[in-house]
């Protein structure tokens, strides 16, 4: 691996002259980038401090930061970091760190280092290959060998007269690029192409720092709206976003795990052989954070045993053989109109209907409806930022009235004056429809937001919609928000209007290896295998199947798992064949982490079982959105390591 670190300390005599006449220094050092991550503590700061000390300088303080050029994070770390009495700031970094510091702080800023001059840009893997970003790629005609970077004179029309024994006149250890080009093209029988091409004249007019800066800024401004970080994976929603919801055929048997929610698993209240009906409670909530389970079919309980579960290996499940009649249980009956229901009555309905967060987390909804703080707005999370999934999108289009009703019910329950339906801009039809339907409804608005993963993360959503940050370890209610997924809101509407508890949901089956993808209304407990078979099976071997989307989904080793309250999709995609490599401190995980963490360190810290270190770097704030793993140029299993770190922290005394 090449070392492309960007700076080195200036020579001692130059530093001495820079230091002369200035005193009371605060020193900020960048932890370097683009080199193998072999140490958390780079030596340059100490070397500088020693030099300053030898000059008799008063150092008011020093700090090490990761990626100084990351202005957001640097500015955040610097708040109140520079002690009173500091008169000058010295920066141990490349020119970017110095410039960033000069902007975030008004004190005179000095560079303690020179950048290291590498011609061209290395890639995101630290190989010898470089690209000069010349804006007019010549590689096609030169057999993939760059004449700009590899030729000392950057000649574009052939070899100069300086090559000796195939080596460059400037450096006899360096191969002549045009010699290499010649050989490569001979090998490909393409010398003719080279000689026949027109005379090449370089165009220098494209070199303009401002253009590139403005461009990048504009892109980031439009793409990163409202909160820090995030990513834009390939959306992959085209195959299913226009396919209407289809009611999936009644399954022969359903497997209902007693844990389809966060918190304690439900306790089965039926026995093998019992006859059950649709909507009948078969599992009782086992505590405050828990939820009851209802039968999704009418039929006979044939087993109560451990069965495969999409997210936790196996789970105690009630297996029911359907009689195909769909007989609805007597307790299922419409409630009073919303106007006549009290908040407590609504909470009771939601609680008894077994409604939990259907975006995946599975937090019991009734708990959210009993906030201990005033709620200003109920947010309906209709972002569906997860790539490939379109279940929520279809819900918006086909059950808009129910969703609005459910939102109104929630607003009434928590006494929120405002309701905001938040939809990503990649669903313009849904935005238009909901705007039309909510026009004139007091307190309800539809908010269009940028398509940016994880826009639907609770904290991101609140930040974007309300401009407020949920404190570390806090809840949405702490900032006056209550957030529910589209399907959850719809389930609340059903529970109030028809009395039907949560027994079915919408799920997307899609992916490159699903021949006939679609969006389905599925009875809970339906086997994933049945759904996939209905869609034409899996069309190749060695593919990855996930319960959920490509970002947050759980890889499945078997399709023998049931659809649950949080099952928003089943996808079949390419298997990742990469192998983890050493971290090169490219900083991209820090750039995308919406929780503003520094994921790269967790790999090292968790690997060394340094739980305190993990805790100090706020590992518990991680919501496992997987942005860091997605962007990682070394393909490190960041989330796995973070989960390990979190477990370690939880186990600390």
């Amino acid at each position: 691996m090449e070392n492309y670190t960007k700076y080195q300390l200036k020579a001692a005599d130059e530093l001495a002259s820079v230091l002369s006449g200035v005193d009371d220094l605060f020193v900020v050092a960048c932890n370097k980038c683009y080199k193998e991550y072999d140490t958390m503590v780079e030596p340059d700061l100490d070397a500088f401090l020693e030099l300053a000390k030898a000059q008799g300088k008063n150092v008011t303080g020093a700090m090490r930061l990761d990626f100084l050029c990351n202005k957001t994070q640097t500015a955040k770390r610097l708040v109140d970091a520079i002690p009173e009495g500091t008169k000058n700031v010295f920066v141990v970094s490349c020119g970017l760190g110095v410039q960033t510091m000069a902007y975030v702080d008004e004190l005179p800023t000095f560079a303690a280092c020179d950048s290291i001059n590498y011609p061209g840009h290395h890639g995101m893997a630290l190989t010898k290959k470089r690209c000069d970003a010349c804006a007019q790629c010549y590689l096609t005609t030169t057999g993939g060998i760059c004449p700009i970077v590899d030729c000392s004179k950057s000649l574009v029309n052939g070899q100069c007269g300086g090559a000796k024994d195939g080596k460059c006149e400037v450096d006899p250890n360096k191969d002549c690029a045009w010699e290499k080009i010649q050989q490569r093209l001979e090998k490909q029988g393409r010398i003719g192409e080279l000689t026949a091409q027109p005379v090449q004249v370089r165009d220098w007019s494209k070199v303009n720092f401002k253009v590139i800066n403005d461009y990048v800024k504009a892109i980031r401004a439009t793409r990163q709206e409202g909160w820090y970080g995030g990513i834009h994976p390939v959306e992959g929603k085209e195959p299913t976003e226009h396919l209407g919801l289809v009611r999936f055929p009644e399954p022969k048997t359903v497997v209902l795990p007693m844990s389809m929610h966060l918190g304690a698993p439900a306790t089965p209240i039926v026995e093998v052989g019992d006859k059950v009906k649709v909507g009948q409670k078969i599992g009782e909530a086992a505590g405050f954070i828990s939820a009851p389970i209802h039968s999704s079919v009418s039929g006979t309980v044939i087993a109560i045993e451990d069965r495969p579960h999409a997210t936790r290996g196996t789970c105690l499940s009630v297996v029911i053989e359907s009689d195909g009649l769909g007989t609805v249980h007597e307790d299922v009956k419409p409630n009073k109109p919303l106007e006549e229901l009290s908040p407590d009555e609504i909470i009771e309905i939601v609680k008894n209907a077994g409604i939990v967060g259907m975006g995946g987390a599975g937090f019991p909804t009734y708990v959210k409806l009993k906030p201990n703080k005033p709620i200003e707005a109920v947010l309906v999370n209709a972002c569906e930022c997860e790539p490939m999934l379109t279940a929520d999108h279809r819900m918006l289009l086909e059950f808009a009235d129910d969703i609005i009703f459910g939102l109104q019910a929630e607003m009434k329950t928590v006494a929120a004056p405002k309701g905001i339906i938040v939809i990503e801009e990649n669903k313009p039809d849904a935005i238009a429809l909901l705007r039309e339907k909510t026009a004139g409804l007091e307190g309800i608005e539809v908010l269009e937001v940028a398509t940016q993963y994880p826009q639907g993360g609770e904290k991101m959503l609140i930040k974007r919609a309300m401009g407020r940050s949920v404190p570390s370890g806090g809840l949405p209610a702490d900032v006056g928000a209550c957030v529910s997924n589209v399907s959850t809101v719809k389930a609340i509407a059903d529970a109030i209007r028809t009395g039907m508890p949560l027994v079915e949901r919408v799920t997307t089956v899609t992916g490159k290896y699903i021949p006939n993808p679609g969006n389905f209304i599925v009875k809970l407990g339906t086997s994933a295998a049945e759904l996939v078979a209905h869609c034409g099976g899996i069309s190749a071997e060695d593919v990855t199947i996930k319960a959920g989307g490509p970002m947050m989904g759980f890889p499945q080793t078997t399709l023998d798992t049931p659809i649950m309250k949080g099952s928003n999709g089943i996808i079949a995609i390419d298997t990742d064949v990469t192998e983890p490599q050493e971290c090169i401190k490219c900083g991209r995980c820090v750039d995308v982490c919406p929780m503003e963490l520094k994921p790269l360190h967790f790999v090292k810290l968790a690997g060394a079982s340094d739980w305190q270190g993990c805790k100090d770097m706020n590992i518990m704030d991680c919501m496992e959105c997987r942005c860091c793993e997605y962007i990682c140029s070394s393909k490190l299993p960041l989330v796995t390591m973070i989960k390990m770190g979190k477990n370690g922290v939880r186990g600390m005394k």
Partner: protein, 292 residues
């Protein structure tokens, strides 16, 4: 003759400038200069002015010299690196051109070859420094020159009516540090601003020639206001030019304006530099009206 000798003698130095042709026949440039500019001290020859490719400054200087004028070689850093610039300076000295004006040069994108590589290996300040090195018999690489060292009158430019006048003064100071012996200014239309500038610039103790353009029309004045850095024609002058188009066209108004500025500024500067922009024929008339 180096024009610095004239400044030293307290002479009010008048220069004008001409641009070499985009072609190989420079005879009309020489003829015009002979006819209208013979009476003045020296003639600047521009160096691919506005980044528009033309015949080089040095050959045109030689032609003017052969015609009996005193040329000033303008040298920009846009098209040549330090090797080519030094080599050009040695050539100039060898051909008897001993007045130079060192500039950074407009950016390549401003001219008729926007795709050209902008060099800017040196800039006006480091070029002046380099000239001083050559005068000491050493090149910028620290190598000794063979034989007699060249000797130039080293000029530089400054923009007194720039809206960044502090940055301009700072740069002027650096040019003096680097060895500039006289300055020619960007065109001035606001005497008061120039006088204020000279109040600050006189600390450097170097002669300054007032830059003058004869405004040809209200349109040209507006164009300069919009597009030319450091040039601002006040509204009343534009009005005067617009008031009588025929008079302006004949050059009468423009010459009056230019002469007025020269008269107002003369007590504060050590010379005048006229950028006639094709109206070389009006230079004698202007000088007469200005009382020079």
């Amino acid at each position: 003759m180096r024009i610095t000798e004239l400044f030293d003698n307290g002479q009010f130095v008048v220069t004008a400038e001409v641009g070499p042709p985009k072609g190989i026949d420079a005879s009309h440039v020489v003829e015009e200069a002979k006819e209208y500019l013979s009476g003045i001290t020296a003639v600047n020859v521009t160096d691919n002015q506005s980044s528009v490719m033309r015949m080089g400054s040095l050959p045109a200087c030689v032609m003017l010299k052969n015609a009996g004028l005193t040329p000033i070689l303008q040298l920009t850093c846009r098209d040549r690196n330090r090797i080519a610039l030094q080599s050009e300076l040695l050539g100039a000295a060898a051909l008897g051109i001993d007045n130079i004006l060192c500039l950074t040069g407009d950016h390549t994108k401003m001219g008729d070859h926007p795709g050209a590589k902008p060099v800017f290996d040196l800039d006006s300040v480091s070029l002046l420094h380099t000239v001083c090195q050559l005068e000491k018999g050493v090149d910028l690489g620290g190598n000794e020159l063979v034989g007699e060292a060249p000797k130039f009158a080293k000029g530089a430019v400054v923009s007194p009516c720039s809206d960044s006048v502090d940055a301009q003064l700072a740069k002027m100071e650096r040019k003096v540090m680097a060895g500039a012996e006289y300055f020619q200014t960007q065109a001035v239309f606001d005497s008061e601003k120039f006088i204020q500038f000279m109040e600050k610039a006189k600390q450097f103790g170097k002669p300054v020639q007032l830059g003058v353009i004869i405004p040809k029309s209200a349109g040209m004045a507006k164009f300069m206001n919009k597009n030319v850095a450091g040039v601002h024609v006040p509204q009343e002058m534009i009005d005067a030019l617009a008031a009588d188009k025929e008079r302006a066209k004949a050059g009468i108004t423009g010459v009056e304006i230019a002469a007025k500025i020269i008269k107002e500024c003369r007590p504060y500067c050590q010379g005048v530099h006229i950028m006639a922009l094709g109206w070389e024929a009006k230079v004698p008339q202007l000088l007469e009206l200005a009382g020079i």
